[in-house]
C-alpha cells in the first residue's frame, strides 16, 4: 500500500481521456515536449494517524494544469483545463490500488500567463489544486 498508487491512478485517469490525451507528465514535461501538455505534481501531503501505528486517511494536494505555448489558450489550454476539472472534481470512482477515495475537490484555481523575459515567449497555465482524501482499504495495525 503506497501513495505511489494514488499518483499513478491520477496520471492514468487523465491519460485515458481522449481530450487530454497521453501527454500527461509528472512535475515537468520531458525535453522535446514543447507545445501542449498536462502536468501533475504533488504540492502537499497530510496523514491523519488517529490510532497509533495506523493511518485512517491521507490527503494529497495535487497541482494539475494544462500548459500550452503561445498567447492564446482558447484552442487547447482552456478546454483542457476545463476537461481536467470534469475528470477530477468529485470523482470518487477513480480506482486506486489499496485506497478508496473519500473526497476529491478543487481547492484553488490556477490561471497563469508566463512570459519569458529573455525571448518574450508566452505560456498559458490553466488548471487547479485538487485535494484528494484517500482511505486505506485495510488499516494496518
Amino acid at each position: 500500500m503506497s501513495l505511489d498508487a494514488l499518483d499513478a491512478a491520477v496520471l492514468a485517469h487523465l491519460r485515458a481521456d481522449p481530450v487530454i490525451g497521453a501527454n500527461v507528465w509528472w512535475a515537468v514535461a520531458p525535453p522535446g515536449v514543447d507545445d501542449a501538455f498536462v502536468i501533475v505534481d504533488q504540492l502537499a501531503h497530510e496523514a491523519d494517524p488517529v490510532m497509533p501505528a495506523s493511518t485512517v486517511f491521507e490527503r494529497v494536494t495535487y497541482l494539475v494544469k494544462a500548459v500550452v505555448a503561445g498567447p492564446d489558450p482558447s484552442t487547447w489550454g482552456i478546454p483542457a483545463g476545463e476537461r481536467i476539472h470534469e475528470l477530477l472534481e468529485a470523482r470518487l470512482d477513480i480506482p486506486v490500488a489499496g485506497y478508496v477515495i473519500r473526497n476529491l475537490r478543487r481547492t484553488h484555481r490556477v490561471r497563469i500567463t508566463e512570459i519569458d523575459e529573455g525571448t518574450d515567449a508566452r505560456w498559458q497555465h490553466y488548471g487547479g489544486h485538487y485535494e484528494i482524501t484517500a482511505a486505506p482499504v485495510e488499516v494496518v495495525p
Binding site: V28, A29, L43, A44, T61, V67, I112, D116
Partner: protein, 136 residues
C-alpha cells in the same frame, strides 16, 4: 502573487457566529497564530537568491468579524506565483535554464497551517457544546 485568506470554513461560520463573545475572542488567537506560523514556515523554506521571495511575504489582518478575525497571508513578489507553480521557460543572464518544477514552499506551509487552524476551531466549537463532525 501567491496568497490564501484565513477565515475558517463556511460550515463553521454559523456555529462560530452563535458562540458567546468570550469564545469568539478565543478564536482570534488560533487564526492569528496559524497565519503567522504559515508565514514563518514559508519564509524559512524559501531559497534565498535575491531575497525577494522571502521579503515579499506579508500578513494582513482584514478586520474582526462576527466569528473572529480574517487574516491574509500572501507573497507580493512578482514571481512568487510562478515559483510556486513551476515555469516552462527560464532565461537567466541570456541562458535558457529550462523548465522549473513547482517550488512547493508557500502552499504546503499554508495547507499545514490551515489544518491546524481548523482543528483548533473545531475544538473551540466543541468546547462550546456544539457537535461538529470532523471534516479534516
Amino acid at each position: 502573487m501567491a496568497g490564501v485568506t484565513w477565515e475558517g470554513l463556511d460550515e463553521f461560520r454559523r456555529a462560530l457566529e452563535a458562540l458567546p463573545d468570550n469564545l469568539v475572542q478565543q478564536a482570534t488567537p488560533i487564526i492569528r497564530t496559524q497565519a503567522a506560523t504559515a508565514l514563518a514556515d514559508a519564509r524559512a523554506a524559501y531559497p534565498v537568491y535575491s531575497g525577494n521571495l522571502r521579503d515579499g511575504l506579508e500578513l494582513t489582518e482584514l478586520g474582526v468579524e462576527a466569528y473572529g478575525v480574517a487574516v491574509r497571508v500572501r507573497n507580493k513578489a512578482d514571481h512568487s506565483y510562478l515559483f510556486e507553480h513551476g515555469t516552462e521557460t527560464r532565461t537567466f543572464k541570456g541562458q535558457n535554464r529550462g523548465r522549473m518544477p513547482a517550488g512547493k514552499v508557500f502552499i504546503p506551509a499554508a495547507i499545514a497551517a490551515r489544518t491546524r487552524m481548523l482543528r483548533g476551531l473545531v475544538d473551540l466549537v466543541r468546547r462550546a457544546g456544539f457537535q461538529v463532525s470532523d471534516p479534516l
